[in-house]
Symmetry: C2
Subunit: 326 residues, 2 copies
């Protein structure tokens, strides 16, 4: 593959080049990995998109929100990319963006780029691929990159660690539902958006929003938040209500963070985080080779029967690994 040509295509914002580049960073093959690193090194660092992380459980209207919000942005002249971190797709064969009919209008918009979720083996791998896909979209000149995830396990943390702002999408619900959102997720959110604030659900949406506004006020104040943030608001993605206000609310937050140095500081600490995560994953990946698995199984059996002490077994495993690292 001609990596320089591919880089040129990405920088010129050719859709096919961008799609091929993302496929390259998603590949697990060692030679592809080396090419992906050359590609990333060849891209300019000076183009930054607004990276919006977006989480919401199934049923809150995530696709509808992304489509309506994305169409609004493209109508404003912005270029929008949509990516996904989907921890479930390795098992289910893809639950986010896998369905081609989802976000149909946005997908056909020439100023939008909607990428289906890759099939993957584990969250660590997904994280790196999505993070690198974000970089590619930025280099291709997209203004906004939406990174979507379902609220499962660690995926919100992964998305929050690669986003400039993090948005939690909720559906209207009774007061009891408040406790359904884990405190840790609430603490990540810069903006809570209660969707479906239309028709019969409008009043419930308002109450839910008020409940979350109250809950957000109880959280510990973060230095990266201006007065009044994090905050909660209502929208109807279906009826296009409240979406410009959502954008303005995000813009106000982002501008404050840029002016006060938090934008750069957060990006720097996120890069460091991924650097360290990558190292840890690479070290632990040594345990996943067929030879390592076989050795662990054999020594583990001796440890389980009591023939070997756990530390002794571990020391023998490490000697074998050092003798024959592959």
């Amino acid at each position: 593959m001609d990596i320089e040509e591919l880089a040129t295509g990405v920088i010129a914002s050719e859709r096919r080049a961008l799609a091929r580049a993302i496929t390259l960073v998603e590949s697990g093959r060692a030679d592809h990995r080396a090419e992906a690193m050359r590609l990333l090194a060849a891209l300019p660092q000076d183009r930054q998109a607004l990276r919006i992380g977006l989480s919401g459980t199934p049923g809150v209207g995530k696709s509808t929100f992304i489509e309506s919000f994305g169409m609004m942005l493209t109508a404003m002249g912005k270029r929008v990319a949509v990516l996904a971190v989907d921890p479930s797709s390795s098992r289910s064969g893809g639950s986010i963006l896998g369905d081609k009919t989802r976000m149909d209008r946005l997908s056909r918009d020439p100023n939008a780029f909607v990428r289906p979720s890759p099939s993957q083996t584990h969250l660590g791998g997904v994280a790196r691929r999505t993070r690198e896909a974000v970089r590619l979209c930025e280099a291709a000149g997209y203004d906004v990159v939406l990174i979507e995830t379902v609220g499962v396990g660690q995926s919100e943390t992964v998305v929050a660690e690669m986003s400039d702002v993090f948005l939690l999408l909720l559906a209207p619900a009774g007061g009891d539902e408040l406790q359904g959102v884990k405190r840790g997720i609430m603490e990540m959110a810069d903006l809570i958006v209660v969707n479906k604030a239309d028709g019969d659900l409008a009043a419930t949406a308002m109450r839910t929003c008020a409940d979350y506004s109250g809950a957000l006020r109880l959280l510990r104040k973060r230095p990266q938040d201006p007065q009044g943030y994090p905050r909660a608001m209502t929208v109807s993605a279906l009826q296009d209500i409240g979406l410009p206000e959502t954008w303005e609310t995000l813009q106000t937050l982002v501008n404050w963070r840029r002016d006060n140095g938090y934008w750069d500081r957060t990006r720097a600490s996120q890069a460091r985080y991924w650097f360290e995560q990558d190292i840890r994953q690479t070290l632990l990946a040594q345990l996943e080779t067929p030879a390592a698995r076989a050795s662990m199984a054999e020594l583990g059996e001796q440890v389980a029967t009591g023939a070997l002490d756990p530390a002794d077994g571990a020391a023998r495993f490490m000697s074998a690994l050092r003798r024959d690292p592959d």
Copy 2:
């Protein structure tokens, strides 16, 4: 050090030999580690103590309980060892068993062995040392090993993973207090013991016990539990009330588990767990050398400024680590 002589002393249950052997497994020096492994390999596998994990926050009367419970057991002719996993002692200089005046009577009992908590660097290291100290106490012929911890962070998990039964000690408290015990800790417990069921607190202790009995019934049934377990009961360690019942309750549980194969199965899976943990810790310990730290700091700075992509920085770090592993 003559390891064979030390092993002989431990097996003969000489207190000084046992104390020296524990000091050896606690040492961080590489040559001591090699000796510790030789020592452990020289010990018989056929002596098993009942390993009782015990957790409770400061103020529940943990020392008083251990002392009274231990004295009861030695009076029954059992030999009792007390160890501690203390995640806080590296910072505070020792908060469990560090005070020499604690468990004074038990410490002077010839059939008891009370070991102060070691000073340590991190929980991973503590875990291995305590686990190996348990093995030494077993080889020295102790019948019961009590492994104590305070309810801080991951220390309960560490203790539960090296215990045959896990006991959670609580103080009498209002109903609201129920939520103070994390669900994860409740799910580890085989027995909840509400202490201080004497004098003015007796009635409150009964109510607290009833609350927890109810809460335990709501937990998912585990295969290793006979009918009626996990359960809650009240004691007064100060007035020696309920301690024989606590022992009987544990005995009933342990006998059932032995008869139904769970004792051996749990020990085997625990050994496997520590084997795998040890391997992971050894791999990640490569990041803690001065050279690795310096390299991570330097590359991390380039990653933070955007001069290097996180994955590229990680790849460079790994190359350097492979070239020069120490």
